[in-house]
């Protein structure tokens, strides 16, 4: 693959992200922070939820922020560039394989997802106030997990961005992204679904479950979580599936 062209495209995306920095920041932070404030501050302080919940919520919020920003940053530009503005043509005509252009999009999305995660941790911590106890005992595990979740987010973005029509963006969010978030074990650990045995099994097809449970397993290991082998295995699996399918869809979109 042509590294120069690849890096130039990455530079282009970074340049555009820098230009839209404030918008991006609000887009990434605002919604998770509202959630953090309502669930982590208001409900815990008013005594509706035990203060322990704060530590349990934070890993889910990290997963949520990373997924939203990764999916959004890859899918939205692709939908409009392929269908409407055709801006992507310039990069498809650059001296690089078609898949190279798609992988660049994924890498750019991963970087945005990682940045979102890095911004959310301290901000959420501040918003929730005292009582959050995170463990950083397994930094390498945490790093690998973050990379896998970032790749998952960007790959899902690639699939959606190359499969969804411009008129269906709203539908995509209400039918795909919203259930993914609400059944993604961001607000509750997977084990708490035990009273709903069927639901507990069905949500296992939702890749976000492994992102939330994964962060829970490294940051707050004292809470119940899925076994680590299951978490890492499933994340590898979903990353590979979504990436492979996304690349295929991208090629189909790119070549007439």
């Amino acid at each position: 693959m042509n590294a120069k062209a690849f890096l130039a495209m990455l530079h282009r995306d970074a340049h555009v992200a820098r230009r839209n920095f404030v918008t991006l920041l609000l887009q990434t932070l605002f919604q998770p922070m509202l959630l953090v404030f309502v669930f982590g501050r208001i409900m815990t302080t008013s005594g509706l939820i035990t203060p322990q919940y704060k530590s349990m919520l934070l890993p889910g919020i990290i997963a949520l922020a990373m997924l939203l920003s990764g999916v959004w940053s890859v899918a939205m530009p692709l939908v409009s560039e392929f269908q409407f503005t055709k801006e992507i043509e310039d990069r498809l005509l650059a001296p690089i394989e078609i898949e190279g252009v798609a992988i660049e999009k994924v890498v750019a999305g991963m970087l945005q997802a990682l940045a979102a995660g890095a911004v959310v941790i301290p901000t959420a911590w501040l918003v929730m106030g005292r009582g959050v106890q995170l463990s950083f005992a397994a930094p390498i595990q945490f790093a690998v997990l973050a990379l896998l979740v970032a790749c998952l987010a960007a790959s899902v973005g690639l699939v959606l961005g190359t499969s969804v029509g411009q008129t269906q963006i709203g539908l995509m969010f209400s039918l795909v992204i919203a259930p993914m978030i609400f059944f993604g074990c961001a607000y509750y650990p997977w084990s708490s679904l035990a009273p709903f045995p069927l639901l507990q099994k069905v949500v296992l097809v939702n890749p976000m479950v492994y992102a939330s449970e994964g962060f829970r397993s490294t940051l707050v290991p004292r809470f119940p979580h899925l076994p680590k082998t299951a978490i890492f295995g499933a994340l590898f699996f979903f990353d590979a599936i979504f990436l492979a399918f996304g690349l295929r869809q991208f090629r189909r979109k790119a070549v007439g």
């Binding site: 062209a5 530079h11 282009r12 055709k86 310039d90 650059a94 001296p95 690089i96 070549v255």
Partner: protein, 338 residues
């Protein structure tokens, strides 16, 4: 060294219909059974072959939907042909796509400029994709912006650009990496006459530096003014090829007298045909009569005499000099603008 373009028996059949309003309305619930699925098949290219010599300005001339843009799509790696092969220089377009993309510059029919970047950035990032070093990128971008009279708005996003400015910027972008083969798909569509002349001048100058140029157009004047050779394309096939002069002299007689009569009785047509200098008479129907001849206006008095003798009223007479437009009409029976 200039390089050429070659295409051999290109075919492209689309089997899935383009999106329709019904297909894009979101999620539609279909109740009951649908009728049998209609077979959709459109032949965009039907055995098109081309050989463009190095350093040539070659024109693809044809009406909308003739297959010109699909041809450009195939030659620029953007459309996969159903069958057939194509080469840019010695590189197979389909198997050596990356090498081909390095050699070509493409100006699309509709601007596809990067909306998140300023005019200057569009040029410099494009250069970067092609590995042009940073200092050289900046220098070339400035030079092109000046050449295309875009310096005033160079550091603004392109949202506010006029159609002509977008088109000029598209061409400047295609030239940023100094391609050896330049594709221009309907380059002057929507340009004002002044910008069109500027564009022609730029195309010629670029060609003088050794760039091979392939352009598509449905504008005769443009093909005539710019191209060293022209291929006339219709229904995905080349129906005539040659220099504009050769093509024009291939029309029987060269001149075309188009009549619109109240009726076209066969004996009148036969008498037209026997007029001195008339080589062919065609009657497409509805009182239309086309006379191919070696003279134009000089024929009119005789036509008028024959018609009045036959008691047929002449409603309209149009005379055209030898042109590619007439050639197209001669080969296809249709006008370019149909």
């Amino acid at each position: 060294m200039a390089i050429g373009i070659r295409a051999e028996d290109l075919r492209k059949t689309y089997t899935s219909p383009p999106p329709t309003a019904a297909a894009t309305r979101g999620v539609g619930l279909r109740l009951g059974r649908r009728g049998p699925r209609q077979k959709y098949e459109v032949k965009a290219l039907d055995g098109l072959s081309l050989d463009v010599a190095p350093g040539e300005i070659f024109g693809l001339l044809g009406p909308n939907g003739a297959g010109k843009s699909t041809t450009v799509g195939v030659l620029t790696t953007r459309v996969r042909p159903t069958s057939g092969r194509a080469w840019i220089g010695s590189y197979d377009v389909w198997n050596d796509g990356v090498a081909v993309k390095r050699l070509i510059g493409v100006v699309p029919q509709r601007p596809n400029l990067d909306l998140a970047l300023t005019g200057r950035e569009i040029l410099t990032f494009h250069g970067a994709y092609f590995g042009v070093p940073a200092a050289e990128r900046a220098r070339r971008a400035q030079e092109l912006l000046e050449r295309f009279q875009l310096t005033d708005r160079a550091d603004q996003l392109t949202l506010g650009y006029s159609g002509g400015m977008l088109q000029r910027l598209s061409i400047a972008r295609a030239l940023m990496h100094e391609p050896q083969v330049l594709f221009l798909d309907e380059p002057s569509a929507g340009l004002d006459p002044q910008t069109r002349l500027l564009l022609w001048d730029l195309v010629r100058r670029d060609n003088e530096r050794g760039t091979t140029i392939l352009l598509t157009t449905h504008n005769m004047e443009e093909a005539d003014a710019l191209c060293s050779r022209v291929a006339i394309v219709d229904h995905g096939r080349v129906i005539a090829i040659g220099t504009p002069q050769e093509l024009k002299s291939s029309i029987p007689g060269g001149y075309l007298v188009r009549l619109h009569l109240a009726g076209a009785p066969p004996d009148l047509l036969a008498r037209f045909e026997s007029l001195p200098g008339v080589t062919e008479v065609r009657s497409p129907g509805n009182g239309g009569v086309d006379l191919y001849a070696d003279r134009g206006g000089a024929l009119v008095p005789e036509i008028a005499r024959l018609s009045s003798e036959a008691g047929v009223e002449i409603r309209d007479v149009r005379i055209s000099e030898p042109s590619l437009e007439n050639l197209f009409l001669h080969h296809t029976g249709r006008s370019l603008r149909d």
